[in-house]
């Protein structure tokens, strides 16, 4: 038996040191809550994640989302829920198999089993009310599942969730989640005061009665676990460092918009991007901004471009299908050199694809999506923290280089929750007020600098700056011109802006040794998994390193030189590519995953890839396996 950590915050509120409780110290754990849709598993899990972050743990949460809004109850496909990975160190990804699962019914677990979410020994705390269900087939399913779980080696503990909740509320359908939060709070020795504050926060718009009943459920779950489970985990906090904030990626994008001084978010609802605007709709107006819900995605970007043309900083936020619709306007913003921030929270494509699932499928579309040559800046966030900071950077770049700037996020980051150091405000983040000074006489609206292609632009209201913006090929004066050299010249100036920006980029730093047998290159949200996987394989002495790219267009400098020092280079990304040994696939027919394709063209290096479109975040375990295969370990 292990001694309780007497400094642990949970102890003061959780009761006396109980010698019957066995405490397991662990460095990290992966917890899942799985239920039917609408049972509040996500709310419980987000709360558990926030409480853990507040207690100083590293945390990453990822939602398990069914595609339909209300899939049938107890369906194997309709599992809804959340995974929370917490540890004594920073957590950067969702990890591999879960250590402990709370399940509201046994059927929902099957969809997770299908996704290899569990392993032998995974503890399953399972609602037991189904054993005595009125419907015989339900009883039977339950009994069969129990036997099956046992044969799979899961450690199942039946829990009378419903029975216990009924002691407090009439309808446990609303409330079981908070009871579960109480149960987890005991298991992970969470500070109940922090948990109570969390409940007060999530039910802040509800009556006192609702708050109280949820608090009662929390305490009941805690006490039940204390009295019945007999074990607890101790995951010590990280070294207390900076002040932290904790939020999901879409909230971070929205908060970044506030920090950037953006005054208009023009959007059309689309999963998984919409919640950026939900967040902003609540708070933007008290920060000087407005959310405009347009009639469609084309109007949304047109509206943002109109505002930006008129000197107001604007962004549009969308996902793949929306990007497809916005294409023509993106080209206009490029052609007419209007700044614009485009937030693309990627989902599975093409077409409606996998609306709620992650994919990194819009890389090439954002770089090459427009007809003609259409240089834009494309950057990708790899963490919640970057979601925040990249919006600020994007706003500045858009204005400095008078062009649209893409910030790519994805469905994994959108709902992923991770604490990060509270940003230190800098007034430079904010957009300056609209310039209404007189325009310098004789200066054309496109006063392209010979070398960099950069120019200032007049904004309506500026005396003497009147010009007619046009999407037609034009000269410095914005005059439509059909002479053969004019379009060449304009294209050349716009392209040079990217080259000028490229000058300011630093060569990326290799994670690990800068030479070796294998280099794994990634971008966006897969970074955490890649680096974790690489670290794991390196432990065994393998010469593998990784490289993460934040700027995809223009692409960060020095890649060819970096690649040369490795025997093999592969990308790891979540988008489609043909496997080399697929039927009909030859060196000529093989279609590469997006970054691989792009890097091959850019560096003339043999770059292979590991990618898939399962709609799941990349797991470190899967990457480890692939690295071993590549290295023939």
């Amino acid at each position: 038996m292990l001694e309780l950590n007497t400094n642990s915050p949970g102890q003061s509120s959780g009761g006396m040191v109980d010698p019957k409780i066995e405490v397991f110290p662990v460095k990290e754990h992966i917890v899942e809550i799985v239920s039917d849709s609408g049972e509040g598993a996500q709310k419980a899990g987000q709360s558990f994640g926030s409480i853990s972050a507040k207690m100083g743990n590293g945390v990453w949460t990822v939602e398990i989302i069914p595609a339909e809004i209300q899939p049938p109850a107890r369906s194997r496909e309709g599992a809804s829920g959340i995974r929370i990975r917490l540890g004594s160190h920073a957590i950067t990804n969702m990890g591999d198999e879960a250590d402990l699962v709370v399940a509201f019914n046994e059927q929902a677990l099957y969809s997770r089993i299908g996704q290899q979410a569990f392993k032998e020994g995974t503890i399953i705390l399972l609602e037991n009310k189904w054993a005595e269900d009125k419907v015989p087939t339900v009883q039977k399913q339950y009994a069969e599942a129990l036997a099956d779980f046992e044969s799979r080696g899961y450690d199942v503990r039946e829990v009378p969730m419903e029975t216990e909740c009924l002691k407090i509320v009439d309808n446990p359908h609303h409330g079981k989640n908070m009871w579960v939060l109480g149960l987890l709070s005991f298991l992970y020795n969470r500070d109940l005061e922090i948990a109570e504050a969390q409940i007060a926060r999530i039910f802040r718009r509800k009556s006192q009665k609702v708050v109280q009943s949820n608090l009662d459920l929390l305490h009941a779950g805690f006490k039940w676990a204390q009295a019945n489970l007999g074990f607890q985990y101790d995951i010590p906090a990280q070294e207390k460092g900076l002040d932290l904030v904790v939020m999901n990626g879409n909230e971070a994008l929205g908060m970044g918009a506030i920090a950037a001084g953006i005054e208009l978010c023009s959007m059309y609802p689309i999963t998984p991007a919409t919640s950026v605007s939900h967040y902003l709709a609540e708070v933007f107006e008290s920060a000087g901004g407005v959310v405009h819900q347009a009639e469609d995605e084309i109007a949304a970007i047109g509206f943002a471009i109109g505002a930006s043309y008129a000197g107001k900083t604007a962004l549009t936020v969308t996902s793949g299908p929306g990007i497809a619709l916005k294409t023509e306007f993106i080209g206009l913003a490029v052609m007419a050199e209007i700044p614009l921030v485009i937030l693309d929270v990627q989902r599975g494509g093409p077409s409606t694809g996998l609306p709620t699932k992650v994919e990194q499928g819009d890389l090439l579309a954002s770089i090459f999506g427009q007809p003609g040559d259409s240089p834009t800046i494309v950057m990708a966030a790899s963490s919640i923290e970057e979601c925040f900071h990249f919006v600020i950077m994007a706003r500045k770049l858009a204005e400095a280089f008078t062009m649209p700037v893409f910030v790519l996020s994805d469905a994994n980051l959108a709902t992923g929750v991770q604490p990060f150091p509270k940003p230190q405000f800098n007034p430079d983040w904010l957009a300056p007020p609209v310039d209404q000074s007189n325009w310098k006489e004789g200066v054309p609206p496109y006063n392209w600098d010979e070398k960099t292609g950069l120019s200032q632009r007049p904004v309506p209201g500026q005396k003497g700056g009147m010009y007619v913006l046009t999407g037609l090929a034009h000269d410095e004066d914005s005059h439509v011109a059909y002479q053969s050299d004019i379009n060449q010249r304009g294209s050349n100036r716009r392209s040079r802006k990217l080259a000028a920006f490229h000058q300011t980029l630093k060569t990326p730093v290799v994670n690990g040794d800068d030479e070796g047998d294998l280099l794994v290159v990634g971008w966006g949200s897969t970074r955490g998994s890649i680096e974790e996987a690489v670290a794991k394989v390196r432990e065994s002495g393998a010469k593998v390193s990784s490289l993460h790219l934040r700027f995809l267009c223009p692409i960060e400098p020095g890649l060819k030189e970096i690649f040369k020092k490795f025997k093999k280079v592969i990308t790891v990304e979540i988008n489609y590519g043909d496997e080399a040994d697929d039927p009909l696939i030859t060196a000529e027919t093989r279609r590469y995953s997006q970054l691989a394709w792009y890097l091959r063209a850019h560096t003339l290096t043999e770059v292979d890839f590991f990618s898939n479109v399962h709609g799941q975040p990349m797991r470190p375990g899967a990457i480890v396996e692939r690295i071993r295969k590549e290295l023939a370990l």
Binding site: E263, A287, G288, A299, G302
Partner: protein, 317 residues
Amino acid sequence: MFGLRPDAVLAVPEKYYTLSDYEGNIPRWCPGCGDHSVLTAAQKVCRENQLAPEKTVFVSGIGCSSRFPHYMKTYGFHGLHGRAFPVACGIKFRRPDLHVFVATGDGDCCSIGTGHWIHAIRYNMDMTVMLLDNEIYGLTKDQTSPTSRKGTTSNTHPTGSVLPPINPIITTLGVANVSFVAQTVDWNPAHLYATLMAAYQHPGFSFVRILQRCPHFSAEVYADAVTDANQTLLLNHENGIELPKGVERMFKNTEEHDPADINKAREFAGIQDMIPIGLFYQKKDNERYDEYGRHNLGFSIEAKEAALMNEFEKYAV
């Protein structure tokens, strides 16, 4: 002592803008194209209201008519086919100090841009919209437009178009929050000018359909109406378009129509045997989305910082 006191301010009279202050590039429309007279009327409206050219923006889509902004010496936005409205609305939303005009064609507005048109009516932002309706696609050389009459022969319907046309007035009148709907013709400069003046002065989305001659591709559609005064019906009212007496007398057919009466407006809009011109409908106190857009402008850096700090606080660990 001679000379001015150092703190003396000489009152410089505000510049008076003349027509030439609004004249941009030389128009490249065909001779006889109705767009020319609309341009002249719009320039006169600007002058009459002494609009500072730098505070004025002409927004358009793509088409012959959408070249309009190039011929004004104001700010201009010659954007994408069908997408003038979202751009114009985006400009006005956070810049209430700008005077916004939209020039759009029948294909631009009533075909590719229909969705935006409907919603722009509903947004009811303060802007003046000129639908230059020649019942044909001019720029792309003679294709059927949604406003082409049934049977119109064009490059896309050599044996005649098969569907009845959209009536832009009726359509506009059918949209929630509609606030100003008028019709005029390019060949009556006085009526055209008076209508655009009324539209400019209306506080909201003023929609003016201008029957516009395209001698190149649809010369026949308005030819009779131009020469035969009997084919036009003037809608008159004390709250309607104010016309000089001499102009009013040019019309053989007139009817009293109270622009507050939307049902009557729809009836007049639907008549087939004559071209009704004048003000169909006006309502000045509708909801305006630009009022919403401007309600929280001008946040200081401090206020923005405070709002952000508040958010950090909310999400603090």
